[in-house]
């Protein structure tokens, strides 16, 4: 009996260990999903000002990046610029929040990838902390009602980003229950 029980007792420990090794400690689900996006304002690198609150009714892609974030930010930069060019006339806004960077390095990065979408620094990191960012790059997709619909950790991928944007553009507003407009079986 003892000979069987001792190895058996080890099994729960092994299961626990296996679980621990298989889960990604950095993949922390954001508590902000489906919540209304924290409002923020940016002073853009081109001198304009940007206010998230003015973009109700649009799908907004908020990207947190830094010039020192290599290679992920460099991989996703063309994807973001591409999404902006593709969708800017269809009620979609892409905005870049530059975190923990120097202005010179950030400008060089933007020149390198020929950014045309609004970008601005986040002095003090207040916006990133407000969005629960724990590393760059991170990308949030906001629906037309200003809720965070999707969060992407790591380099944004074209197919995923486009899929999210398309989905939110075509999403029918939550159906209001109507009475009397469906046929009952004859």
């Amino acid at each position: 009996m003892k000979k069987v029980l001792l190895p058996l007792a080890v099994i729960p420990l092994l299961v626990l260990l296996a679980y621990g090794f298989w889960t990604d400690p950095t993949a922390v689900p954001s508590p902000l999903i489906e919540k209304s996006a924290p409002p923020f304002a940016l002073t853009l690198f081109d001198g304009d000002s940007f206010r998230l609150a003015e973009l109700r009714g649009k799908v907004v892609v908020v990207n947190f990046w830094a010039s020192w974030c290599f290679p992920a930010c460099y991989e996703e930069a063309p994807v973001l610029e591409g999404a902006w060019r593709e969708y800017k006339d269809r009620d979609v806004v892409v905005v870049g929040v530059n975190v923990q960077d120097t202005e010179k390095a950030a400008r060089e990065f933007m020149d390198r990838f020929k950014f045309t979408f609004p970008n601005g620094p986040d002095p003090g990191g207040k916006i990133s902390i407000d969005y629960g960012v724990y590393g760059v790059p991170e990308t949030f997709v906001l629906d037309k009602e200003g809720r965070i619909a999707y969060k992407h950790v790591g380099a944004a991928r074209g197919d995923v980003l486009m899929g999210q944007i398309e989905g939110l553009l075509h999403r029918v507003p939550p159906a209001v229950e109507k009475k009397g407009d469906h046929e009952r079986g004859a």
């Binding site: 922390v28 954001s30 902000l32 003090g124 990191g125 990133s128 902390i129 969005y131 629960g132 724990y134």
Partner: protein, 168 residues
């Protein structure tokens, strides 16, 4: 201390010895844990530091916001200080970070629900260990060590002989 008294002491202790010793060590352990609990912070810097020690630095591996030299932790400390200055309570500030990052941001999980297991298990383990130790000690006392095994007299004689040779 005289030899006689020391022996007496051992004699007396051995009656209730193991149980009492285990209990005493448990009490000591609990006391030492209580001793390191943080004292109430007073100044702004101390309060900031106190909150920062309870938050996990998001860009580090197992470091608190207080211990990390990273830019992100720096910004978080600034934010904590600012919010304290604005009159927010430490609990409200921690709640803000939990709201943004999830409970993951707390280095110690909240003492509620399933999390309580984390707080209870060490003590259960300690208690279980103490009981097991006491049981084993009791069994050992009831069944004192068996008499030394008999040795072949010829072998014993040979060992004695060789030892005597060694000494000479």
């Amino acid at each position: 201390m005289s030899v006689a008294r020391r022996q007496g002491g051992i004699e007396r202790r051995s009656k209730t010895g193991p149980l009492r010793a285990v209990a005493a060590s448990v009490v000591l352990m609990v006391l030492s844990m209580v001793a390191v609990l943080p004292l109430a912070a007073s100044s702004l810097e101390e309060q900031t530091h106190q909150i920062a020690t309870e938050l996990r630095c998001p860009v580090c591996q197992g470091l608190s916001v207080a211990d990390s030299p990273s830019g992100m932790a720096n910004q978080m400390r600034d934010l904590i200080r600012e919010r304290l200055q604005a009159g927010e309570s430490p609990d409200a500030i921690k709640a803000y970070f939990v709201e943004r990052y999830g409970e993951w941001i707390l280095l110690a999980p909240k003492r509620e629900g399933f999390n309580l297991l984390v707080w209870v298990f060490p003590f259960l383990g300690l208690g279980g260990g103490a009981v097991a130790l006491a049981l084993v000690l009791r069994r050992w006392r009831r069944h004192p060590e068996a008499a030394p095994a008999s040795v072949d007299p010829a072998y014993l004689e040979r060992v004695r002989h060789e030892m005597a040779q060694d000494q000479s």
